[in-house]
Each structure stands twice: as structure tokens, then as C-alpha cells.
């Protein structure tokens, strides 16, 4: 398990209290889990994601991430409709470990409440939370 200082948290992303990252990409937001989260989970073996078209509220469970010995729920950092799902994770769940911010992305969401994006933490605030 790495120290927080050894982990990576891009400054152009926002972060939720549940260790998801959020990035604005042409009218939708892209969601994944942070380097801290993937490091805590260990080798990821399976990711269960919703279907395109499903809608969830902020804080609702939208999927799960499994390592060999544990299951973690994924919670929506913002509410909205799922517009895309990273199908590559079905055969290559290790992308979440290797590239949590790139190939390890999980879902794209069309925001229902733009204000919810503003409620997310920036890199500085997320680091504060991790160190606390």
C-alpha cells in the first residue's frame, strides 16, 4: 500500500468523498476512481457497471468494484443519466489499477443538477481529506 505522497491526483479533476474523480468532457462528466482508491483495493478483478440509460441520484450506488477478497460499492458523485460505459473494463479490469484516470474510466454522466459538480472537492481539498 502506497503513501498518499506517492499517489497521483491530477489537478484538473474534481473528487468526491467516496474517492471518485470527475472530469468535464463536452457536456457530460466522466467518472472513475482515484489513485488512492485503486491502491487501497489492490488488484481489481471485476467491475460491475450500470447500463447506458440508467439514471441515479447523487450518492446512489451505481456499481461495484471487486478485488480478490473485497467488494466496494461505487457511489454517484453527481446525479444524472448514464450516457456511456467503459466496456473495455469487462475484459481488462486491471486498467483501473494501471490507468485510473485514463483507460480505467468507468461511466459518463449527463448532469441533472449542474450545482452538484460545484460541490465536489478540488485536488487541494481532496488531498486535505486524505491526509486528515
Amino acid at each position: 500500500m502506497k503513501e498518499v505522497s506517492e499517489l497521483n491526483f491530477p489537478d484538473d479533476l474534481r473528487y468526491s468523498d467516496d474517492h471518485e474523480w470527475v472530469k468535464q468532457v463536452d457536456g457530460v462528466v466522466r467518472v472513475g476512481i482515484s489513485d488512492y482508491a485503486q491502491n487501497q483495493l489492490g488488484d481489481i478483478v471485476f467491475v460491475e457497471l450500470p447500463e447506458v440509460g440508467d439514471t441515479f441520484e447523487k450518492g446512489q450506488e451505481f456499481g461495484t468494484v471487486e478485488s480478490v477478497k473485497a467488494v466496494s460499492e461505487l457511489y454517484m458523485p453527481v446525479g444524472g443519466e448514464i450516457t456511456a460505459v467503459n466496456e473495455a473494463l469487462e475484459d481488462a479490469p486491471e486498467q483501473v489499477n494501471n490507468e485510473p484516470y485514463a483507460g480505467g474510466w468507468m461511466v459518463d454522466v449527463r448532469l441533472q443538477e449542474p450545482a452538484e459538480y460545484g460541490e465536489l472537492k478540488d485536488q487541494k481539498a481532496y488531498l486535505e481529506m486524505l491526509k486528515g
Binding site: 478483478v45 471487486e66 480478490v68 477478497k69 473485497a70 467488494v71
Partner: protein
């Protein structure tokens, strides 16, 4: 006592280390009002020799072969068990080990069960098997719950030609769930009547047993075809006699999504009904919804092949209340017995043995017909069949019990419409002479 190695000296030394005066002192933290008053009121311990005598006596008060001729199946089958199976199973590294949580020192269990998973999948024509469930009955209940999880529908349909005790277990499992269990009737030819099966789009799964409780072989291909006219409903093929698949079309070849049933026939003694062996198989795409343990192949740090428990995140110790089932212990030793049996029997052997069983029951059935008795169900059978006796057979049945013959299982308690109907079974253990004698007795 030979199971307790502690001597007075051992106890005193250990009490000293622990810092307590006597054994009672170890329990001083337990509130007085929870403590037992007085000793356990159990019989004085028996010596090994006394125990043998007592158990011999009790076992002697049981009707078993060769003294008795028992012509019953109904989910418990008398098959020969080779001595090889008994001997290998009694190797203590096999039976005194537990769940292979530490795979490095459990490769024996893990490989044996991986072999079991593979042979059971091949037997049934399915893609993946788990490491076993308790018995055929609870396997069926779990299969139906699995179908509900996968489809998110709330109703299942179950053939009334499925073993009546299995259907009762299903109802017990379903009682608190709010899910509905519909029953499908059977036809005059002894098979399931799917003609009335409507609203498939509401059903999570449809379960049919083959050979069914009456011994009749269901047309699984037709069942599969009908069920899959809905693109979500699951076809669950159940069984109580897996030996049938040595000669019959396999559930997997007929479109079954789940095939589950009782494996007791494969090297496990009848033992008054337990332990059994819940064989459970499914299509690979459903594996994450399967209950029970799964063993998978992998490699170790040096690249050596090995086996481990895998996909454990489905199970209760990780997923807890969201697990696919609450099952923990399975029927490991019974699964091991069955793979030893399947290995001894072999591919050539299982075809021959299954054919012999088929032919024994066919002979028996036609002997009844030749003697002028009625076989009410005209469907082809495997191992078991129903005979419809004229009124009053009850007395003959009772008279034959005194002659140490159990002439079939009366069906009326399970199917009130089938008065004077009896279920007979003939496996490879029934000689022609036994069967001829029985016919003679019932036609007297």
C-alpha cells in the same frame, strides 16, 4: 479418555501459566446466571467395544440388502460402490482437511474438486459447475432464486413431476420471499404438460426434472424450446439420477441454462437420505450469480500450475447480506467420492452401466405388463416407473414387508389422485431373479 491428552500435570502447569487456580477459574468472567447448574445429564461414556455393540444393534434394526429386497428409488438409489472409492475416501488427508482456504497445503482437495467440476459439467453438457451444494432439493431452490436474481422477475414455474419433497423444500425457501411458485401439471403419459404455460415474460425460470419423479424421461429439447420463446426466462433442468446422462441427451444439449440435482448415485451410500450431493451447473455467462464455492486454475510464483478458491466475492464471507447464497460448508467429501466414482467408471463404463440400468428397469416394467398389471404412464423411463395396482394392493404390500420385500413406494401420500400407484426402481443391483420373484409375489 483417548481423545483428551491432558494429564493432571499438564493441566496444573498450564493453569499456572494462565494464572488461574483451577479449571473453573477459566470461566469466572461468565455471569453466574448463565452458568450451568450441575453436570450434563448424558449417559455414562461407552468404551469403544460397548459403542460397537450398541451401534451394531441399532444398525441391525434396519431393513437393508441383502436380507431385504427394497425396490424403491425416489431420489435415493442403490448402486454398487467400488471398494476403491471407500478406501481412497478414508485417507485421512482427504477427510480431516477443511475448506481449502490455504491453497498451498490443500492442493489435493482443490484438484479433486476441480476435476469434479469438470466431469459434472461434461456429464450434463454444461459450461461450469460449482463445488457442490447440500442436496438435489436445496440445489433446485437455489437455482430458482438464481433465476430470479438474473432476470429480476418474481415468479417461477415448477413441474409437478418434480420430486414432491424437492418441491416442498422450494416452498420452504420461498415462503418468506414474496416470490410466487406456480405449478405445472403432468400429462397422462407421465411427462410435464407445458401447454398451459402462459405469460412466460413474467417468469424468471421454468424447472422440469428428467428423468422425472415417475421415472419418465422428459423431452428436454422441447421444454427448452418452449421456455426460450421468451428471451429472458431460464430453463432449469433438474434430476435425481445423474447416471441417466450416460445414455440420455444432456440438459446442456437441450438448452438448459441451469442443470442441478442429486448426485448420491455416484459413489455415495444411501445412508437413510443423507448426506447427498447437490450437483449444480450453469452457463458461463451466469457464473457471477451462481451460489456455492468455485475452484479455478492458476499458477504459483514459480509458474507451477495450481488451484484456488475463486470468485469468492459472490459468497457470504465477503458479500454478506448481498451474497448469492448463505452457503458456507458444502458437501466436499461427497463431491470427492463422486469424482472417484466417475474416475473409476470412466467414459466407457458409464455408458455401459447407464445402459444396464436402463435395460433392468425396462425388463422389470415389461415383466409387470406381461403379468397383466397396468403401467399408467407410457413415456420411456430410466431406472424407475409407476405401476397401477388393482384395489387392495395395500394389503399385499404389507404382507410382502413381512417377507422382507419392499414392493415399491406408494404414491398416494404425494399424489392423492394416484391411489394404488406404486413407484418401482431397478438399478444394476437388482438381479433378474429378484425381479421375477417380486412379480410372482405381487401376482399371487
Amino acid at each position: 479418555m483417548r481423545y483428551l491428552p491432558q494429564t493432571r500435570e499438564d493441566i496444573d502447569k498450564m493453569l499456572q501459566v494462565v494464572g488461574v487456580d483451577n479449571l473453573d477459574g477459566l470461566f469466572s468472567g461468565i455471569p453466574e446466571d448463565c452458568r450451568r447448574k450441575g453436570d450434563l445429564n448424558l449417559p455414562e461414556p461407552l468404551t469403544e467395544w460397548e459403542l460397537n455393540r450398541r451401534m451394531d444393534e441399532m444398525a441391525g434394526a434396519m431393513a437393508v440388502a441383502p436380507e431385504y429386497k427394497v425396490f424403491m428409488g425416489a431420489g435415493s438409489y442403490n448402486h454398487f460402490i467400488p471398494e476403491v472409492v471407500r478406501q481412497l475416501l478414508s485417507r485421512s488427508e482427504v477427510y480431516t482437511a477443511y475448506t481449502p482456504y490455504q491453497p498451498e497445503i490443500s492442493q489435493g482437495t482443490l484438484q479433486a474438486i476441480y476435476e469434479y467440476q469438470t466431469l459434472v459439467s461434461r456429464l450434463l453438457g454444461m459450461e461450469v459447475a460449482n463445488a457442490s451444494m447440500y442436496d438435489g432439493a436445496s440445489s433446485l431452490a437455489e437455482a430458482l432464486l438464481m433465476a430470479i436474481r438474473i432476470t429480476r422477475r418474481k415468479k417461477v414455474a415448477v413441474s409437478t413431476a418434480i420430486h414432491p419433497l424437492y418441491r416442498r423444500v422450494v416452498r420452504t425457501y420461498f415462503a418468506p420471499t414474496g416470490y410466487e411458485v406456480l405449478e405445472i401439471p403432468y400429462l397422462p403419459d407421465g411427462r410435464t404438460d407445458l401447454s398451459g404455460l402462459k405469460n412466460l415474460e413474467q417468469l424468471a425460470g421454468v424447472a422440469v426434472q428428467s428423468p422425472n419423479f415417475f421415472g419418465c424421461i422428459e423431452d428436454l429439447k422441447a421444454v427448452g424450446g418452449k421456455v426460450h420463446t421468451d428471451d429472458k426466462a431460464l430453463f432449469i433442468a433438474a434430476f435425481t439420477e445423474p447416471l441417466a446422462y450416460g445414455v440420455l441427451k444432456r440438459p446442456g444439449d437441450c438448452g438448459a441454462d441451469i442443470a442441478c440435482g442429486e448426485g448420491q448415485s455416484f459413489g455415495i451410500p444411501q445412508s437413510f437420505g443423507g448426506p447427498g450431493l447437490g450437483m449444480f451447473t450453469a452457463l458461463k455467462k451466469y457464473v457471477r450469480n451462481m451460489p456455492g464455492r468455485l475452484i479455478g486454475k492458476t499458477v504459483d510464483r514459480d509458474g507451477r500450475p495450481g488451484f484456488v478458491l475463486t470468485l469468492a466475492t459472490r459468497e457470504q464471507h465477503i458479500r454478506r447480506e448481498r451474497a448469492t447464497s448463505n452457503i458456507c460448508s458444502n458437501q466436499g467429501l461427497c463431491a470427492t467420492a463422486s469424482v472417484m466414482y466417475m474416475a473409476s467408471l470412466g467414459g466407457t463404463g458409464i455408458r455401459e452401466l447407464a445402459k444396464l440400468n436402463h435395460d433392468k428397469a425396462a425388463y422389470f416394467k415389461s415383466a409387470f405388463q406381461k403379468a397383466g398389471l397396468t403401467i399408467p404412464f407410457e413415456s420411456p423411463v430410466f431406472n424407475e416407473f409407476v405401476v397401477n395396482f388393482p384395489a387392495g394392493f395395500k394389503d399385499t404390500h404389507a404382507r410382502l414387508l413381512e417377507k422382507k420385500i419392499v414392493a415399491g413406494l406408494p404414491l398416494a401420500p404425494y399424489y392423492p389422485e394416484l391411489e394404488e400407484h406404486y413407484l418401482f426402481c431397478a438399478t444394476e443391483t437388482a438381479t433378474r431373479e429378484d425381479m421375477d420373484d417380486l412379480i410372482e409375489e405381487v401376482t399371487k
